[in-house]
Symmetry: none
Subunit: 199 residues, 4 copies
Amino acid sequence: MAIIVDKAQKRRDIALASNELILEKGIKKLTVAEVAKTAGVSKGSIYDYFQNKEDIVFEVIRINIEEYHNELMAKINEENKSTRQKILFLFDFVLNEEGIFDIKHNFYKEYVSINLSSDSQEMVQFNLECSKFFNGLVSSFIEEGIAKGELVEKSRDLIQGLKACEKGFLFFKWTEKKEVASDFRKFLNTIFDLIEVKK
Amino acid sequence: MAIIVDKAQKRRDIALASNELILEKGIKKLTVAEVAKTAGVSKGSIYDYFQNKEDIVFEVIRINIEEYHNELMAKINEENKSTRQKILFLFDFVLNEEGIFDIKHNFYKEYVSINLSSDSQEMVQFNLECSKFFNGLVSSFIEEGIAKGELVEKSRDLIQGLKACEKGFLFFKWTEKKEVASDFRKFLNTIFDLIEVKK
Amino acid sequence: MAIIVDKAQKRRDIALASNELILEKGIKKLTVAEVAKTAGVSKGSIYDYFQNKEDIVFEVIRINIEEYHNELMAKINEENKSTRQKILFLFDFVLNEEGIFDIKHNFYKEYVSINLSSDSQEMVQFNLECSKFFNGLVSSFIEEGIAKGELVEKSRDLIQGLKACEKGFLFFKWTEKKEVASDFRKFLNTIFDLIEVKK
Amino acid sequence: MAIIVDKAQKRRDIALASNELILEKGIKKLTVAEVAKTAGVSKGSIYDYFQNKEDIVFEVIRINIEEYHNELMAKINEENKSTRQKILFLFDFVLNEEGIFDIKHNFYKEYVSINLSSDSQEMVQFNLECSKFFNGLVSSFIEEGIAKGELVEKSRDLIQGLKACEKGFLFFKWTEKKEVASDFRKFLNTIFDLIEVKK
DNA sequence: TATGAATGAGCATTCATTCAT
DNA sequence: CATGAATGAATGCTCATTCAT
């Protein structure tokens, strides 16, 4: 009788092992040999489940981002907040995480670095999806605010800019090693002062 | 008497050769041997003028950024414009350049990629300086606008955010390969609608 | 099923090729590329069997020393000799070898040179082992001599010194390019005149 | 009027600068460029006073050894001692020095390392001279001891061996990183018990 | 007599991917 | 299905010495 192997499970095992190793030592130090050893499969098998090393890294990124998004969704709806608070929370979540997320942050930073020096169409696609997620979130908050009469109509024209802002602050955090919390808070509060409907 | 050599000139020659090669094939494919050959000096001499390869790349970056800044400064003051127009021009300059600047953009993108995967204190320092330049520009425009009674006082609390926005849009341009022109225009116009003093 | 390779054999093959090359041109001129070519494997494979180049050299040293020790052991027990004769033979073996052993001597000399300019803990360990071998030999001869009533009891306090002497004469042979045979013979004979029990 | 330069003085200056640098960072890290800078002369000039870098190192070694010998001579005659004490002192001086001499010891060790991997006839010559110095010292002590009736006649046949011993213990100190004090003391005391005339 | 600019050979090591078994 | 042995390209940096001025 042939051994039935759960292909999907094996793929997950490899991704899991890779995730572990990446969190430990970073993407650049990840070797296929070590992934194979940690996952308990042979080097050759890796290539039955993934195209190449980049493909593995990519899968791990996907898993982490998804998890990250779930985490964000879980926390963001916890309480009743004003739109201002929700957006502030969003920025806080992305720019001020600590602990395990710091490591993941480094992972994401490394991913972006690779991203900028590669031309993978797949990555572009994935980036668009992530962007859409964030976009949807900001959009829904703003639209909700408008619907509630909390924000002025024109607020919706700021959505793309707010999204860009978030990435921009991330960029400064990374390249200038500075804390950006007070900066983005001042910015957002000022924006909301301008777009909140005066009662 | 010893041969008198214009050290600064030679350094410039080497940097120039490197610039050429980087523009042609990118930072990662740059080899010291080729730089030496192109600059018409020996490999050994390279190291009389630069600490190491990274140092060369860094110098070329510096030269390009400086040139870029000069170009920007020259164009931005060409006409009398409103603050809105100046800021729009600024974003346009950074995000919509074409021709040679597109290639330089790739160079800058590669630099940022390296930046994100290195921990060079020198790079951080340099990034801070570039940041300061851009900051000064936006600041002066906004402050001028406020002084002229064109903008409301609170506008100055948006400066950091505007700067972040610019980098964020650059980020999307790079990672999503999309045109961001209409996005940032809508955003900026909306912002200025909010902060311009109604007459 | 995967190809089964005799790892130990391959390691030996590489070491053998290295030995050949070292004997031919010395340690310093040994290149990994040449080792690979001579051993008939790829450069990459070398590193499946050895940590690094030093590791290869070290293994070759080990093999040679072992062989040298075996040779010594084989010869030293050939006949029934007095302790004096055994020790003299020992010194003779180490200090007066010719032919292939001269080349190996150069190898050993080069090894010692590297030894003196490195701080490898592994080398120290290995040196201790070699030292122990020689020590054991001298010890057993002397103790046997004492047991047989051939030597006085105090002879055993000379063991460390005799061992040092041997290395010292080697040192002079190397640094002064002089023949030390008559010197060490005179010394040893005098010592034995003093410690042999007069009958 | 031509500038009169004291050639010998300049040579000394260069040697002095080299000595400083060698004591600081070792022979291998000594660069001619740095010597030139420290000595306040041009790189080219160095070669007016020395054949090559090795020649410089060699001169510095000579200076140090001479100084070392003077130091030894000064201390060894300080008191009235028995031959046994003198020889013990000699070994102690060579094998147990501390402080500044530790650094010089490293220098000497480095020199020996170079010695073993070079074939310079000049070095051989110099080594012979050093050997002769040490030889003379041991000889004079032993002969004096014999003349005084302190030692038996045959003692003089141990001279070469004692000299070899000293180098041998040095060798073990270097290659096994062990303290050799108790070893050489036990050895020497045993020897002297054997060769001192019983009264 | 002094300068200091220029030279350029030489080499260990990593690791993603393949494919014979 | 699985294995794991084998591949091999690719590159920065040092520094003693020379010699044109």
